[in-house]
Symmetry: C2
Subunit: 379 residues, 2 copies
């Protein structure tokens, strides 16, 4: 069954050296023999997510990238700010493979019937080390595509789709009926809009420019508010009143956005009260911070009563909490709606070698809204 599997695979790796330089390079690694319940995927497409950039480059200075080697084992390096080194102490030393998720074709399988049944199928996974030509993965960790989806279509089957669905699961599980999303024009934000439209869930989209507002209105978003306008507080409050949102997923993190959202929610809830209530509305208002576009501290004003919560939200923690049954249900939905609700768009497709080109690194590192890159390891 494994005739088409080479013995080695090129793999993109990231390494932090003790002299505070971050190295990105292509290494040749052996392709393991699959265990009974494993398959070998010939990886055809893997997206460059913001979380991938964070893991592989972190706070390193991409504007000062230096080419260390070209040829068979190309490598670039860039300086890591000294003040970032203490927190990265455990990262110094070994090279770690990059690329959380991706998709490809199963070219070999272990001995179990369920593994063997997948040979030739297009599958996606999020087990990491996907910026590679081949990847061995467990059958349980796969999403098996339907109806002839291509690897490029399946490449982003996990991070964004499960985050969008996870947000709605969290919303329902905690008794909310509508939600607010900040930085809503991103790939994830557009996907969340499609899911909410499909499920009839009210969604308040907070964006930072009229251009971003246009992107969302074009895909049918009903409630779009622009934080760069002077009427933002009133617009936000009106949209929250229209949807009844008491939950927000925020990717800005720093500054006063969290506080502004909670204050708008409390304004809406307090307006429903009769008489004086010292502690404000008793309706719980929640913000989950799942990104840090603004790295300043989060500032919470004392303007939204006492029934509130702010916390971190991390996809892997959510998936571990809800357990395999719920995760399976969510993955099934992603597979069913892969080319519609959960479609991703890419600004550019690059090879593994191009992913180490200093100019290309600078481009995908910018993370411009809608400018997502796709790595095609076979090209």
């Amino acid at each position: 069954m494994s005739v088409s599997v080479p013995e080695t695979s090129l793999q993109l790796q990231s390494r932090l050296s003790p002299d505070a330089r971050l190295h990105l390079g292509l290494a040749t690694v052996p392709v393991a023999r699959p265990a009974a319940d494993e398959v070998v995927i010939r990886v055809e497409a893997a997206p460059v997510n913001p979380s991938d950039i964070g893991a592989m480059i972190g706070p390193a200075d991409v504007s000062r990238t230096r080419v260390e080697r070209s040829g068979d084992a190309p490598e670039i390096s860039m300086p890591m700010p000294p003040e970032a080194m203490p927190a990265l102490a455990a990262r110094v030393g070994p090279a770690v493979p990059a690329g959380v998720e991706g998709a490809g074709v199963v070219v070999a399988a272990g001995s179990s019937p369920r593994a063997r049944a997948l040979v030739g199928r297009v599958v996606a996974t999020s087990t990491g080390a996907m910026y590679a030509q081949h990847r061995v993965a467990k059958v349980d960790d796969l999403l098996v595509t339907k109806d002839g989806a291509t690897p490029a279509e399946a490449a982003s089957s996990f991070v964004n789709p499960l985050t969008a669905l996870g947000m709605l699961e969290t919303m329902r599980g905690e008794g909310h009926t509508a939600l607010v999303h900040t930085a809503a024009a991103s790939n994830l934000g557009q996907m969340l809009n499609r899911v909410c439209l499909a499920d009839g869930v009210g969604l308040v989209n907070v964006v930072r420019s009229q251009e971003q507002a246009g992107i969302l209105r074009d895909i049918g978003a009903e409630h779009v508010v622009d934080s760069s306008t002077p009427t933002f507080p009133e617009d936000l409050t009106a949209a929250i009143a229209a949807t009844g949102a008491t939950l927000c997923f925020d990717v800005i993190g720093g500054g006063d956005m969290v506080s502004r959202v909670l204050t708008a929610m409390e304004t809406v809830q307090a307006a429903k009260l009769t008489g004086h209530h010292r502690y404000g509305s008793s309706v719980h208002k929640q913000v989950y911070v799942c990104g840090r576009l603004d790295t300043r501290p989060t500032e919470l004003a004392n303007t939204f009563g006492l029934a509130w919560g702010v916390g971190g939200w991390l996809l892997t923690t959510f998936l571990a909490q809800v357990g395999p049954e719920v995760v399976g249900r969510l993955k099934d939905r992603v597979a069913d709606e892969l080319t519609t609700t959960f479609a991703s768009r890419y600004a550019r497709t690059i090879s593994l070698r191009e992913a180490l080109d200093p100019e290309v690194v600078a481009a995908y590192h910018r993370r411009a809204t809608g400018e997502k890159y796709l790595i095609a390891p076979q090209s």
Copy 2:
């Protein structure tokens, strides 16, 4: 049964007039006839809690108190800062009775056997309007004392005892095993220490002076850290490591205390990790803000990973959430340990008239640690 019940009762009331003046006065109100499941309490003792001061005076300027009337219906008034008026709009107009909790002797009862069985007993309640000579209350809302407890001993049976027990219920319900408490030298803080010592729960006491640290050490507190010392971050981290605390009840609210506690907790949890973990420890760290000694915004630095939460915690919300069965169990414990674990101390006992003396108002308004006042409405 109601021979000893007068037809009227003096009641301390608070009123905000449209000209931005807060009025405190004694009014003569009728004592209602008790319904079947009600009793009439001759109120003997009612504490002046910080929450009572907040409800009855709020942000009014007590340093500019003016005597409006003396005699049978004494009244004082003080200016309310204009900037506080919008949030208090619904408070303008009617006089509202003051005093959340208190205790006294049942002097009359409704027709039901369970109400009649209480005549002559010392009971406590937290139904409000307790700064009064008499108060009608439902049997279900009473805590019936045991073993000859006096009204003064029973006066603070609700707010602090149920808050301390509620904190431990929340701790257990959310899977934590130890906790941090800020402003720990308060009456509540000392009570929480006794509960934690009795239950074998690790408690980190954060205080703001060596004097406060001494108060706690004197009552057997094991982990006391002083935020006014330069070694506070290390001391806090060490105490959190020793106890394993992952939950904090904070009454400071503003500034960076919440962030410092979360950071210390994350430092302790991250030290247990092996290798590099980009998002830090996955152990959830929680702070509940249940006071606002510092009214500045809460500032959350980006230094404690992604497994964290901050939220409001309000006793009444907690009691509503856990339901009558749990509340009944907690009240039983308070009654059992009223003069030991849940004993309160008062700096001074005052009459209803003294509660309107400008100098006395200024004194109890200061809310100095350990300086709690008790109102004795019959004196």
